[in-house]
């Protein structure tokens, strides 16, 4: 009987893609393993193979179509003698086992959130803006710094010819050549050490970890070799290096590929730790990180890569470390977060507003140095604090913030500080359990109501 061919999910976080090219036409006979089409995701162009054998009865989605949702029917496969019309209206596909689409939205808000920076704006008022994804902003930040300084180079697994495992380094090989965009063997411990040596030797390496989960193999060089040497050398031997890559959970990739390392790195004197949420911050902070004379841990997020925001269209846009951004001013409760946690914080603030609770939302942007002054200032106004992060509870970023607020603003608190985190478990694979393990917008809403006694 006729079967529908559905738009496949080709990565854990894919929601839609471009049907770039059909390699079969109606009437062709295909068997399993034949390549049917080329599908372009935001990460790569991939070939899509037939699972069943049959005759291509009908092509539903023409090649070149963008934004084809995962699991939408794209063609119909029929058996000898059948017609494609045997399938009447395309029925909704059977629930796919993969990609919990609803749980992994491109996190940047679709509609630009009202952004207010109470302290000082990152760019002059009236600056022209352009819409970019976080992925493009990171790439542009690196490219601009590579143009500016010949000693900056990028090394890591699949950064060059593959154009980046998550397409962040797309186009850099073409512009800068193989001398400065270097594919490494799969050898995290080794190439992290080579990067540190190159930094001692006068270069400014950007070392990409395909994900920060793999950087655990390189932890010794990050901490012992990169972070501590300036101190151990009495100030002689600095290590200007950026370690960057996606951090935290993607979607359905299991316990070993889903850890948020923010709290780990934040603990280490000698390191600077950056964890941007928006595209503008990703670019401005990346440029600052590359120019910094210290080792910088730059924690990106796979789910955020595809989110778009306005990025100032300036020749040289940088954001200083240690300066939080107030996304939304409010008077009843302060919600502090960073990285993907901001998604939940901002969504929660919207919902709280519907209930008449005015939340102030602060994006820390850098965890070390940390702009605790902005948190304190906000707490002095709202008298309530909720922190939001994806990592684990014990020794979390939130518990540090909580201790600082207790010591420096105890008298301003009208309720205990709530530190919201991921659950205290290795990340499960099952869709329902994963959903349960992650922090949710509802939990943030609940916590905010709790501390405002509503």
């Amino acid at each position: 009987m006729a079967t529908q061919i559905l738009m496949p999910a080709l990565s854990p976080t894919m929601e839609e893609g471009t049907l770039a090219k059909w390699l079969v036409k109606e009437g062709d006979t295909v068997s399993s393993g034949d390549i049917l089409a080329e599908i372009e995701t935001d990460k790569a162009t991939m070939e899509f193979e037939a699972v069943d054998e049959g005759i291509v009865g009908k092509i539903i989605v023409a090649e070149g179509t963008e934004g084809v949702k995962v699991n939408d029917p794209i063609a119909v496969l029929v058996e000898e003698g059948e017609s494609a019309d045997d399938i009447a209206a395309p029925a909704p596909a059977a629930a796919p086992a993969e990609a919990p689409v609803a749980e992994a939205p491109a996190a940047a808000p679709a509609a630009p959130v009202e952004t207010v920076d109470a302290a000082a704006p990152d760019y002059p008022e009236g600056t022209a803006m352009k819409t970019q994804t976080v992925r493009e902003a990171l790439r542009d930040g690196m490219a601009e710094e590579m143009r500016r300084d010949d000693t900056v180079f990028l090394m890591g697994e699949e950064v060059a010819e593959y154009q980046g495992a998550y397409k962040v380094s797309q186009g850099l090989l073409d512009e800068f050549g193989a001398k400065r965009v270097i594919d490494t063997p799969i050898t995290e411990h080794g190439f992290a050490g080579v990067g540190v040596g190159a930094a001692f030797g006068g270069l400014r390496p950007i070392v990409e970890f395909m994900t920060f989960n793999f950087a655990m193999q390189a932890m010794d060089h990050i901490i012992n070799s990169a972070a501590k040497t300036l101190y151990m050398s009495g100030g002689q031997m600095g290590c200007p290096i950026v370690f960057r890559g996606p951090n935290g959970a993607a979607a359905r990739v299991g316990a070993q590929h889903s850890q948020d390392f923010a709290a780990w790195y934040m603990q280490v004197p000698g390191l600077k730790v950056v964890m941007p949420y928006s595209a503008a911050d990703a670019k401005g902070l990346m440029k600052t990180a590359i120019r910094d004379n210290n080792p910088v841990i730059f924690l990106e997020n796979e789910i955020l890569y595809g989110g778009s925001n306005d990025v100032p269209d300036l020749e040289d846009f940088t954001i200083p470390f240690g300066k939080a951004r107030i996304w939304r001013e409010g008077s009843d409760v302060t919600i502090v977060s960073f990285g993907i946690g901001m998604k939940y914080a901002l969504e929660a603030a919207d919902k709280l507003a519907e209930d008449g609770i005015s939340a102030e939302v602060i994006d820390l942007r850098t965890l070390r140095p940390m702009d605790t002054a902005s948190i304190i200032k906000s707490v002095q106004k709202t008298n309530r604090l909720v922190t939001v992060e994806e990592g684990w509870p014990q020794g979390s970023v939130g518990s540090y913030i909580s201790s600082v607020v207790m010591q420096e603003a105890f008298d301003y608190l009208d309720a205990p500080v709530m530190t919201l985190t991921g659950k205290d478990v290795p990340m499960p694979y099952a869709a329902n359990l994963e959903k349960l393990a992650l922090i949710t917008t509802e939990e943030v809403v609940e916590a905010a109501k709790q501390v405002t006694y509503r």
């Binding site: 050898t187 992290a192 050490g193 040596g197 006068g202 010794d220």
Partner: protein, 331 residues
């Protein structure tokens, strides 16, 4: 250990021989003094002495040119003295004083000198190996023809990151000489108890890296091998491995119980293969120096070491404000 490849009638000047003698003696006397100061409680923590291995660094340093780099492990005092760092600054670092190379904040295992192109002083076994390859990477990237000597021991040679580094160094043809100082013992574990493939230099073959073993108790043989290795790197042929077979007379660190080898074994090496005695003989038999000349040198060296020891005691401890400096470089 490999039999000494007797140095062919050394085609070497009196001045050079005297220079090697002086430098090896400086390291030995310096280390003996460090051992004393440790015993007096003036040096704390870990202190790994280089006595017995002097010919390795002195021979290899003789092969280097200005601008070549070196990086090593925690057994680093000899390397620093051999590349021309000031004995006063090294000793004052051992005593944790302001006049030390790291202002007293690094200690025995962590000293550096940009001026002398000495990149540490690394306390995690084998961590200096990819770092050394990275230094060579920088030189190649910058287009100069400098070479990096990356020293590590027979113990470090079994670490995974050494294999990772060999692979990348050969892949990218980095100008790095991997110097394996095989002193027979990784802490208290002999080579035979740690590996079934004790010819460490041969492991390079798996990656296509050329190399050889050399008698590390013969400073002239070491220098000749170093020159060959450097020429290989400067010619753009990629890395080279030198396994320098040597012997550590003292314990792994000051707290070594010395239960893993016999006193006789150590004594035999001292009597039959000592690197300094070897040069002393060459000097005397070649009539390059008299006993009196050598005594004069001994006196000079002793004076330098005593001066370093005095400095290391007199130099004040770092100011308390130093606790919070040098954590970050100016952005």
């Amino acid at each position: 250990m490999a039999a000494r490849k007797t140095t062919k009638k050394p085609n070497i000047s009196k001045e050079e021989l005297l220079e090697y003698y002086r430098e090896m003696l400086l390291i030995r006397r310096f280390e003996e003094k460090a051992g004393q100061l440790y015993g007096m409680g003036l040096i704390g923590g870990f202190c790994h002495l280089y006595i017995g291995q002097e010919a390795v660094v002195v021979g290899l340093e003789a092969a280097t040119e200005e601008g070549d780099k070196r990086v090593t492990s925690y057994r680093d005092h000899g390397h620093m003295l051999a590349c021309g760092m000031d004995p006063k600054g090294v000793m004052a670092e051992l005593t944790g004083r302001e006049g030390g190379y790291s202002k007293g904040k690094g200690g025995s295992m962590h000293m550096f000198s940009r001026e002398k192109h000495f990149y540490g002083g690394h306390g995690i076994v084998a961590a200096q190996v990819p770092i050394g390859a990275g230094l060579a990477f920088a030189d190649k990237y910058l287009g100069n023809d400098r070479v990096t000597f990356t020293y590590f021991g027979d113990g470090a040679a079994n670490q995974g990151q050494v294999a990772e580094t060999y692979n990348m160094a050969q892949l990218w043809e980095l100008p790095v000489v991997f110097v394996i100082e095989n002193n027979q013992y990784a802490m208290g574990t002999s080579v035979q108890r740690a590996t079934k493939s004790p010819d460490f230099w041969e492991r390079g073959a798996a990656y296509g890296i050329a190399g050889e073993a050399v008698d590390g108790m013969d400073v002239l043989a070491v220098k000749a091998a170093g020159e060959k290795a450097i020429a290989h790197c400067r010619a753009g042929k990629g890395p080279y491995i030198l396994e320098v077979v040597t012997y550590r007379y003292r314990g792994h660190s000051m707290s070594d119980p010395a239960k893993y080898r016999t006193r006789e074994e150590v004594q035999k090496v001292r009597e039959e293969r000592d690197a300094i005695e070897h040069v002393r003989e060459l000097l005397l038999t070649g009539k390059h120096a008299s006993e009196d000349d050598l005594k004069e040198i001994d006196k000079e060296i002793k004076a330098i070491v005593n001066e370093a020891a005095e400095f290391s005691k007199e130099s004040p401890e770092p100011a308390l404000s130093e606790l919070y400096t040098d954590i970050y470089a100016d952005a």
